[in-house]
C-alpha cells in the first residue's frame, strides 16, 4: 500500500463502581429489564443527578495510569440529542473541561500513542427489537463510563491492536473496569484516514463504530485501510461516514452518512455544580496505583532475572503477579515459583478470563512452602508438579501430601547402592554412556526414580552415576 495510516481510537470503558453515576442504583450487569432503575437514571421529571465521587476517583486513576494531566477544576456538560434510549434527551458528559488530558501509552516498540483526553459520562439504556416492537431496558442507563480519546498517532493495524490491548490491560490492572469487550464494558470506535507518506495534511476520515474484540480492531483497521486505498487508487475520494465492521465477512460498510455533524448544543449542566479536586487527593490516588504491568515486566526481567516470556505471562495478570510476589516474599525462589505458575497452575486455566480471575484455592504462603521444598531439593520438580496439582484441587497445604519421612534425604551410601543396581539392570545403557551416548543415562535415572518413588535428587544421582561409569 502506498499510503500511511492515520488512526485514532475512542474507547468507552464502563467503570466498576457499585452504584450508578448519578444515583444509588446498582450497576450490576444483566437483571430483569428495568429493575435496576429509579427516577434519576430514567430521567423522570423533577429528578436530579448527584455525581458519584467514586466515578471521579476512578477516572483520575485511569488518567494517572495513562500519564495524563489531571484538571483540578472540572464540570459536567449536557450533550443534547434525541434517542429513545436516552431518557433525559441529553447525556451528561464532559465537553470543554475533561477531567484528564494529554497522556500517552507506550507500545513495545517504544513509540508513544498520545491520549488527548479522558472524560466521564453516563451510559444510555438499551433498545431491544422484538416481534416488530421496540422495547427499552434502562438498567444500563446511568452506568458510569470514561471515554479515552487517543491522538491520531496509530499508524498500523498491529499498533491499533496493541494500543487497545495495553489499554485494556492497564484498566484491569488498576481495577477500575473488567473491560469485557463481549459484554460491552469496553467498546472501541476507530477513526481512520490515509495519506501519502510525507504529507502533513490529513485525509478524509471515517469512523468505525463499536468494535467488540481486540482482533477485530486489527482486522477492521486493515479492511478499512484497504477499502480507502482502493478508492484513492481509483482516483476517487473517501466520504466522511460512520462505518460498521462485519466480522463474518471481514468488511467495513457504511452505517450512516455523517456529512452534517450533529449539533449537540453542549452547555454546563446546571444541576451539577462545578467541582474541584485538590492536589492532595490526586497524590493519594497516585500512591494507591499498583505497579503497572509494563513496569513489572521490566523489573521481572532486569531485577529478578526471569526470561522475558515467563515474565510477560506472569506480569500480565495482576492477581497472578500478586500471587507470585507473595510467594517470593515467603522465601520461594524466583525460578521455581515462576515456572510452576506458568507450567502447572496455568495448565489448569483454559481462558484469559480464568487467568485474570486467578481463583486458586491455595495461598501464596502455601505455594511458597511447596516451592521451597523443590528449591532445597527435598523433592524434585516432578513431585513438586504432582503435589501442586493435588494442592490446587483440594486447597490443602503441602504437608497433607508430603510427609516429613518422605523428605528424609536418601543417604549417599544408599544412592551409590541404587546407582550400582541401576547400572546392573541397564548394562547396555551403561556401556552407551561410556561410549559417549550421553542420553542413555536417562534409562538409569528412570530406574532410580522408580525405586525411590521420585524422591532421589536427580543431579546428585547423575554425578554418582558418571563417577561409577568412569566418565
Amino acid at each position: 500500500m502506498n499510503y500511511e495510516i492515520v488512526c485514532g481510537i475512542e474507547t468507552h470503558i464502563e467503570l466498576a463502581t457499585r452504584t450508578k453515576i448519578f444515583c444509588g442504583c446498582t450497576t450490576e450487569f444483566g437483571g430483569e429489564p428495568n429493575t435496576h432503575c429509579c427516577p434519576v437514571c430514567t430521567g423522570q421529571p423533577g429528578a436530579l443527578p448527584v455525581l458519584n465521587q467514586k466515578v471521579v476517583e476512578y477516572a483520575i486513576k485511569a488518567g494517572l495510569a495513562l500519564n495524563c494531566k489531571i484538571n483540578t477544576k472540572s464540570h459536567m456538560d449536557r450533550k443534547n440529542y434525541v434517542y429513545p434510549d436516552l431518557p433525559k434527551a441529553y447525556q451528561i458528559s464532559q465537553y470543554d473541561e475533561p477531567l484528564c488530558e494529554k497522556g500517552y501509552i507506550e507500545l513495545d516498540s517504544g513509540k508513544r500513542i498520545g491520549i488527548a483526553r479522558i472524560h466521564i459520562e453516563e451510559d444510555a439504556g438499551k433498545l431491544i427489537h422484538e416481534k416488530g416492537y421496540t422495547f427499552i431496558d434502562y438498567n444500563r442507563s446511568g452506568v458510569p463510563l470514561i471515554e479515552i480519546v487517543s491522538e491520531p498517532d496509530i499508524s498500523s493495524a498491529e499498533e491499533a491492536k496493541e494500543y487497545a490491548e495495553k489499554l485494556q490491560l492497564i484498566m484491569r490492572y488498576i481495577g477500575i473496569s473488567d473491560c469485557k469487550m463481549q459484554e460491552g464494558s469496553m467498546r472501541c470506535d476507530v477513526n481512520l484516514s490515509l495519506r501519502k507518506p510525507g504529507d502533513s495534511s490529513l485525509g478524509v476520515r471515517t469512523e468505525i463504530k463499536n468494535i467488540n474484540s481486540l482482533s477485530f480492531i486489527q482486522k477492521a483497521v486493515m479492511a478499512e485501510a484497504e477499502r480507502q486505498a482502493d478508492i484513492l487508487d481509483a482516483g476517487g475520494t473517501v466520504v466522511q461516514q460512520t462505518m460498521r465492521y462485519d466480522e463474518a465477512t471481514n468488511t467495513v460498510t457504511p452505517m450512516r452518512d455523517k456529512e452534517n455533524s450533529e449539533d449537540y448544543r453542549y452547555f454546563p449542566d446546571p444541576d451539577i455544580l462545578r467541582f474541584s479536586i485538590d492536589e492532595e487527593k490526586i497524590e493519594e490516588i497516585r500512591k494507591s496505583l499498583p505497579e503497572l504491568p509494563f513496569e513489572k515486566l521490566k523489573r521481572y526481567v532486569n531485577v529478578l532475572g526471569l526470561p522475558e516470556a515467563t515474565a510477560k505471562q506472569i506480569s500480565r495478570y495482576r492477581k497472578v503477579a500478586e500471587f507470585f510476589e507473595g510467594a517470593l516474599a515467603e522465601g520461594a525462589s524466583v525460578k521455581n515459583a515462576a515456572n510452576l505458575i506458568v507450567g502447572t497452575i496455568f495448565a489448569t486455566m483454559g481462558t484469559e478470563e480464568e487467568k485474570e480471575l486467578f481463583d486458586v484455592l491455595i495461598s501464596p504462603a502455601q505455594y511458597a512452602a511447596l516451592v521451597k521444598l523443590a528449591d532445597e531439593r527435598k523433592i524434585n520438580i516432578g513431585v513438586a508438579q504432582a503435589t501442586l496439582q493435588k494442592m490446587l484441587e483440594t486447597g490443602k497445604p503441602v504437608e497433607e501430601f508430603i510427609k516429613p519421612e518422605d523428605l528424609v534425604g536418601i543417604s549417599d551410601e544408599e544412592l551409590e547402592k541404587l546407582c550400582r543396581e541401576a547400572m546392573d539392570a541397564n548394562p547396555k545403557a551403561a556401556a552407551d554412556v561410556r561410549s559417549g551416548k550421553d542420553k542413555a543415562i536417562n534409562a538409569m535415572f528412570g530406574y532410580i526414580m522408580k525405586k525411590t518413588g521420585g524422591k532421589a535428587d536427580i543431579r546428585k544421582a547423575e554425578v554418582m552415576l558418571r563417577k561409577l561409569i568412569g566418565q
Binding site: 434519576v40 421529571p45 423533577g46 434525541v82 429513545p84 448544543r265 446546571p270 451539577i272
Partner: protein, 486 residues
C-alpha cells in the same frame, strides 16, 4: 381577620376544631369557589381527609409539628407520589409520579394536609397563568383580571382562602408577581436554600420553591419547614441560619440599611411607585437608613434571563417525547413521527416559543454570541448585587411594574408580557432571596406588591423587614369576601 398558621395550630391543639373539620371547611369552600376561580387543577380530597385523620392522631401528642393538620396546596409542578403532577401541560396528561418532591416529603412528615395541585402557566412559562392547558385561574380580587404567573393558582388559592398556605416555584418572579397581583405574601428563597428535587425543571439554575401565604409570619414558618440541604440535590446548600425564621421576625429595624436603586423604578406605574416610596419613608421614620444605590447591569437582566432560562428549558423539556409517560399522539408512522406529533400537540405556543429560542441560543455558531455572553453578564449582575449588599442589608423595590392585567389582554405580545418580570428576574439571576408583600391598592382596587430583596441566605433580614412593614403599614389583608370563615 383571617387566622394564621400559629393561631390555627393553637385551635387544633385546644381541640376547638379538629384537623378533619378544618379540612372539610376548606373542601367546602373549594367546591363552592373553584369552579369559578380555577385555582386548583387536581383535587385530592380523599387523601386530604385521610391525612387530616392522621394529623388528628398526631395532634394528641405534645410534640406535634406546627404544620400538623393545616390544609395546604402545591403548585402542579411539584411531584407528589401517586397524585397527578402535570405542570398544567397537555404533554404530562395523566402523569402520576412514583416519588415525592423533597419539599412535599418534609411537609408530609409534619402532618400537612394536601388539598390539591394548583393551576399555573404551562411549565411555569408565563406571567398570567393563562398558558395553562386547564385555562387561566381568575384573580379572586376581581375575576376580570389575571392572577399573575406562573404560580397563579397558588396565589389565588391563598387570596380566596382556599388553603392556609401554598407552595409555588419562582424562576423569574413566578411566586412574587402573582403574590403581588393577588395581594398575598410570596417568598422566593435563596437559590439552593430549598431542595429542587421533585420540582419539574424549567430553568434549573434559576428555579426555586417558596411559600405563598397570608402573612410574613406564615411564610417564615413554611420556609422553616421546607428549607435545608438535601443529598438528592447537589445545588442545595447546608446553610446554618442560626435560628428559626419565625423567631427573628420581631427584631427592631433600627439601623437596618435599606437600598433603593433607581433602576427598579424606571417605567413603573406611578401609583405603584408612590406606594413603594411611602413604604420607604415608613422605614426611614422608624430608624432604617436609606441608601441610594445603582445597579447598572440590571437593564440587561431581562434579556439575560430569557436566554439562560430558555436555553435550560429547551434542554429540560427534551425528555417529553411520549415514550415513557404523559401524552402520546394517537397515530404515527415512525418513532420520529411519534415524537414530533406528540410534542406538536402536547406543548402550547409559549412553551414552543421558549424551546425554540433556547435551542437557537445554544446552537453552534450562536452559543458564544448569546448563551456564553449571557453567562458573562450574569456574573457581572452578581458582582453588582454583591457590591450592593456590602452597602445595604436589603433592597426595596416594586414587585411588578403594574397591577394585574385584564384577562386575555397580553396574549398577542410576548415581549410586553416578558416585561412584567422586569423587577423580579434580576433576583433570580443573582440567586438572592426576595419577598413580595402587599403594599396597598391602585385606583381600581387591585393589589400592589412591594419587594424586599436580601443578600444570599439573608432570609432572616428580608422576613424581618417585611414583617415590620406588614405590622406597621395598616394593611388590609384578605379583603376578598369568600373562602373559609372560622
Amino acid at each position: 381577620m383571617r387566622m394564621g398558621i400559629t393561631e390555627l395550630a393553637v385551635k387544633l391543639r385546644k381541640r376547638e376544631i379538629s384537623a378533619v373539620e378544618l379540612t372539610k371547611a376548606y373542601i367546602d369552600a373549594i367546591e363552592k369557589l373553584n369552579p369559578t376561580l380555577n385555582a386548583y387543577v387536581h383535587l385530592t380530597f380523599d387523601t386530604a381527609l385521610e391525612a387530616a385523620e392522621q394529623a388528628d392522631q398526631m395532634l394528641k401528642e405534645d410534640d406535634a409539628p406546627l404544620l400538623c393538620g393545616i390544609p395546604m396546596a402545591l403548585k402542579d409542578n411539584i411531584c407528589t407520589d401517586g397524585i397527578p403532577t402535570t405542570c398544567c401541560s397537555k404533554i404530562l396528561e395523566g402523569f402520576k409520579p412514583y416519588y415525592d418532591a423533597t419539599v412535599w416529603e418534609r411537609l408530609k412528615k409534619q402532618g400537612a394536609v394536601l388539598l390539591g395541585k394548583t393551576n399555573m402557566d404551562e411549565f411555569g412559562m408565563g406571567s398570567t397563568s393563562e398558558t395553562s392547558c386547564y385555562g387561566a385561574p381568575l384573580n379572586p380580587r376581581n375575576t376580570n383580571y389575571v392572577t399573575g404567573g406562573s404560580s397563579g393558582g397558588s396565589a389565588a388559592a391563598i387570596c380566596a382562602n382556599l388553603a392556609v398556605y401554598s407552595l409555588g416555584s419562582d424562576t423569574g418572579g413566578s411566586i412574587r408577581q402573582p403574590a403581588s397581583f393577588c395581594g398575598v405574601v410570596g417568598l422566593k428563597p435563596t437559590y439552593g436554600a430549598v431542595s429542587r428535587y421533585g420540582l419539574i425543571a424549567y430553568g434549573s439554575s434559576l428555579d426555586q420553591i417558596g411559600p405563598l401565604t397570608n402573612s410574613v409570619k406564615d411564610a417564615a414558618i413554611v420556609f422553616d419547614a421546607i428549607k435545608g440541604v438535601d443529598r438528592r440535590d447537589q445545588t442545595s446548600v447546608d446553610y446554618d441560619y442560626g435560628s428559626s425564621m419565625a423567631e427573628c421576625l420581631d427584631r427592631d429595624i433600627k439601623g437596618i440599611r435599606i437600598g433603593v436603586a433607581e433602576e427598579f423604578f424606571d417605567g413603573i406605574n406611578p401609583e405603584i411607585k408612590s406606594k413603594v416610596e411611602e413604604a420607604i419613608k415608613l422605614f426611614e421614620r422608624n430608624g432604617a437608613v436609606i441608601e441610594n444605590i445603582r445597579i447598572p447591569a440590571m437593564k440587561l437582566a431581562l434579556p439575560v434571563y430569557y436566554i439562560i432560562a430558555c436555553a435550560e428549558a429547551s434542554s429540560n423539556l427534551g425528555r417529553y417525547d411520549g415514550i415513557r409517560y404523559g401524552y402520546r399522539t394517537a397515530s404515527y408512522s415512525s418513532i420520529d413521527d411519534m415524537i414530533v406529533k406528540t410534542r406538536s400537540e402536547g406543548f402550547g405556543d409559549e412553551v414552543k416559543r421558549r424551546i425554540m429560542l433556547g435551542t437557537y441560543v445554544l446552537s453552534s455558531g450562536y452559543y458564544d454570541a448569546y448563551y456564553k455572553k449571557a453567562c458573562l453578564i450574569r456574573e457581572e449582575i452578581n458582582r453588582e448585587f454583591d457590591a450592593v449588599f456590602e452597602k445595604c442589608d436589603v433592597l426595596v423595590a416594586p414587585t411588578a411594574p403594574s397591577t394585574a392585567f385584564p384577562l386575555n389582554c397580553k396574549r398577542k405580545s410576548p415581549v410586553e408580557m416578558y416585561l412584567a418580570d422586569i423587577c423580579t428576574v434580576p433576583v433570580n439571576i443573582a440567586g438572592v432571596p426576595a419577598i413580595s408583600v402587599p403594599c396597598g391598592e391602585d385606583a381600581n382596587g387591585l393589589p400592589i406588591g412591594m419587594q424586599i430583596i436580601g443578600r444570599r441566605f439573608g432570609e432572616v433580614t428580608v422576613l424581618q423587614v417585611a414583617h415590620f412593614y406588614e405590622q406597621n403599614a395598616g394593611q388590609i389583608i384578605g379583603a376578598y369576601e369568600g373562602g373559609v370563615r372560622i
